[in-house]
């Protein structure tokens, strides 16, 4: 695929998003609330800065010793009765999951929201295999009904208004809400989903943490849907990125404190569960079998190729809630599984830079994302790294390259550069009306939405020289 097609696609998606007035309101409501709540929680936390440094150090320690910890995790999970599988690619991961479902003769799976599941295309793979999928997270249920992809990693349906949700539920729930309130809509989903969860043959989830010293898999949810999806079925399948490892529960505790505060402003998520192996012989409930699929899908390459810091990510969503670009265009415009700043770093690593080179450019580099990231990922630096790589590999469009080459040619000839600037200033001033430029040749894209201030009569350098002479 040429670099130009996706560029057009991104620009088209972003333009459509900018023209959608409902989207802006919907994104603003949820991200704005999250931003305010996080600020209160961080303010109340004793030394959040030091806590964030420690969190980054924990993740760096794990990533540096990933082989050691994965083997330790595997040995402990197996000792507890789980079966551990390894997958290099998303295809391998999906094949393992579908194979397990088929072996069990599964007709339906209950799925608890997992970004890794989205990343590897599990919903699609299940559909292709003819296995019914019950999305149990309320937001995932909404987007399953609307046939869309998540637009945020914590609130996948944040782009939907209550009116749109109401219509979806009325169309597909057997016994939909009678009143037009959000509480009544949630109740309608509760009635609708419960049966699907209790009768599923397989429960599938991701993992927030994999605890190396016990072999436990940790999930966190506010709805309790992970537990309702993973306890009743006979078979439990966990798909987890290999970077989800922590050395012990104590390390998970530190990260959990930061995760909930950064995501929703709460001190802790409502339900935090550590699953170690399948049900014990005389337990009253729990699955007969537990399978854990450890997924690489480009992570070892990220570690080797200068993106190790990105493997610190605990998927809290704070970077997108605080991103000026995300707040304008929402998550779908990014086109990948992961939106916002973290998505702009991850998507090129997962889908290839040639197809996604616009994402690192859709950033003002204001640094807010790194400031709020609970594991202090240098997102702006990593984004700049992608921009440089895109330039080195010749992926930038011809017009951009030609423009920059032209500028470089002048910039290396100071006299000529100054003369050209003086001429440009004169012509720009001649085009201005009342201090503003409404239209500028070759910059129509920019001036369509805003006016440019009329430039000063002389360039900064010219004024500086005059000042020195005086």
């Amino acid at each position: 695929m040429s670099a130009h097609e996706p560029q057009a696609a991104f620009k088209t998606r972003a333009a459509a998003a900018l023209h959608d007035p409902i989207l802006k309101i919907a994104v603003e409501r949820t991200a704005g609330t999250a931003e305010a709540k996080r600020a209160v929680a961080v303010e109340a936390f004793p030394d959040f800065e030091a806590a964030r440094t420690r969190a980054a150090a924990i993740k760096d320690h794990v990533v540096a010793n990933l082989g050691h910890y994965l083997e330790q995790f595997e040995a402990n999970a197996v000792a507890a009765g789980a079966v551990v599988h390894w997958a290099r690619t998303s295809q391998e991961a999906c094949d393992i999951v579908i194979g397990l479902c088929r072996q069990a003769g599964a007709k339906s799976v209950a799925r608890s929201k997992s970004m890794l599941g989205e990343e590897i295309g599990l919903p699609h793979a299940l559909a292709e295999a003819g296995i019914a999928r019950v999305e149990t997270d309320l937001a995932e249920h909404i987007i399953q009904l609307s046939g869309e992809r998540p637009s945020h990693i914590i609130w996948p349906a944040m782009h939907k208004t209550r009116e749109q949700v109401s219509e979806l539920f009325r169309r597909s729930h057997r016994d939909p809400h009678a009143e037009e309130t959000i509480a009544a809509m949630a109740e309608s989903a509760r009635r609708h989903l419960r049966e699907g969860m209790l009768s599923a043959d397989v429960g599938i989830s991701g993992a927030n943490f994999l605890v190396a010293d016990s072999g436990a898999v940790c999930t966190v949810t506010n709805e309790g849907n992970a537990e309702l999806s993973l306890v009743p079925p006979r078979l439990q399948i966990v798909t987890a990125g290999i970077e989800k490892i922590v050395p012990s529960m104590g390390h998970a505790v530190h990260l959990l404190r930061l995760l909930a505060r950064s995501a929703t402003g709460a001190a802790l998520t409502q339900y935090t569960t550590f699953y170690t192996g399948p049900k014990r012989e005389s337990d009253r409930d729990g699955p007969e079998e537990m399978h854990i699929v450890l997924v690489d899908n480009g992570r070892t390459a990220m570690r080797e190729e200068g993106l190790a810091e990105m493997l610190r990510c605990i998927r809290c969503g704070a970077c997108m809630n605080h991103c000026v670009v995300f707040r304008q265009i929402g998550g779908h415009a990014y086109g990948g599984t992961y939106p916002g700043p973290m998505g702009a770093v991850l998507t090129p690593a997962i889908d290839g830079l040639a197809k996604t080179r616009d994402l690192p450019n859709a950033c003002t580099l204001n640094g807010k994302c790194q400031e709020v990231c609970p594991v202090n990922i240098p997102l702006p630096t990593l984004l700049r790294g992608w921009r440089e790589k895109s330039w080195r590999e010749g992926l930038e469009p011809k017009a951009t390259r030609a423009g920059i080459d032209l500028w470089a040619w002048f910039a290396q000839r100071p006299k000529l550069y100054r003369a050209a600037t003086a001429t440009a200033l004169k012509s720009l001033r001649a085009m201005g009306r009342g201090g503003w430029l409404r239209k500028v040749p070759m910059a129509g894209g920019w001036t369509r939405y805003r006016d440019l201030p009329k430039p000063a009569a002389e360039s900064f350098m010219a004024q500086y020289r005059k000042g020195r002479r005086r």
Binding site: T30, A44, F45, P46, D47, A51, R54, A57, H61, N65, G67, H68, L70, E71, W86, A87, R88, T136, L138, A139, I142, W155, A157, K160, R162, A186, A189, R190, L193, R194, E195, M197, L198, S214, A216, E223, G224, E227, L228, V231, G250, H251, H254, R257, A267, L268, Q270, Y271, T272, T273, F274, Y275, T276, K279, D283, R284, D285, G286, D296, T300
Partner: protein, 203 residues
């Protein structure tokens, strides 16, 4: 090469296990966390249960024998019929539940369950549970009213860990099943409990 070998061959380093262990242990020293005054553990626990994201009701009773009467009163206040899901925990089963209809596995539309937490955690208002033959997990996620007996309270989350062999599930409940998935508006009782009532055993 198997996928396992292919992945591990790129990740395995030369650092000796003892060095890794020491580094990991050092990362846990003097953690930043909300401080809980050891003299105020009970008060902080009660306070945390009341914050909006937890929003549990709370009462203290003298001992186990006070439970049936406490539950009866709660049911009357909430207008719930006296049908109770009671796990096969001998400490609960030994009590006098006359007037109640009991069952030990939860119905899909279960109204109320009474369960015993191993611990309460003051830092977050969390309730710590483990699965066992006497403590099924599902009822605590199906019932609309989650009533929880708390025999002991600790200060910090780190103390919640269960030493030694792990059960199938070790879980922390910090409030009710809630969602903000529609326009960021908070709704209680998304899938599981809408009400959480904590009964602290004082003795």
């Amino acid at each position: 090469m198997s996928a396992r070998e292919a992945i591990l061959s790129r990740l395995t380093g030369k650092t000796p296990a003892e060095v890794i262990r020491a580094e990991a242990a050092a990362l846990l020293l003097a953690p930043e966390r909300p401080a809980v005054d050891p003299a105020q553990v009970e008060a902080v626990f009660a306070e945390r249960l009341a914050v909006p994201s937890v929003a549990a009701s709370y009462e203290r009773v003298a001992d186990w024998t006070a439970l049936p009467e406490t539950v009866r009163r709660y049911f009357a206040e909430q207008g719930i019929p006296p049908v109770l899901c009671l796990p096969p925990d001998p400490r609960l089963r030994a009590l006098d539940w006359s007037g109640f209809t009991l069952h030990d596995s939860a119905a899909p539309d279960e109204l109320a369950v009474l369960a015993v937490a191993r611990l309460g955690v003051a830092e977050t208002g969390s309730l710590v549970f483990e699965t066992s033959p006497e403590a099924p997990m599902l009822p605590n996620f199906l019932a609309l009213h989650h009533l929880v007996v708390v025999p002991e309270v600790v200060a910090q989350l780190e103390e919640a860990a269960l030493p030694g062999a792990q059960p199938r599930a070790h879980y922390w409940v910090t409030g009710v099943s809630g969602t903000t998935d529609i326009e960021g508006t908070y709704v209680r009782g998304a899938h599981g409990p809408r009400f959480l009532h904590v009964i602290r055993l004082a003795g």
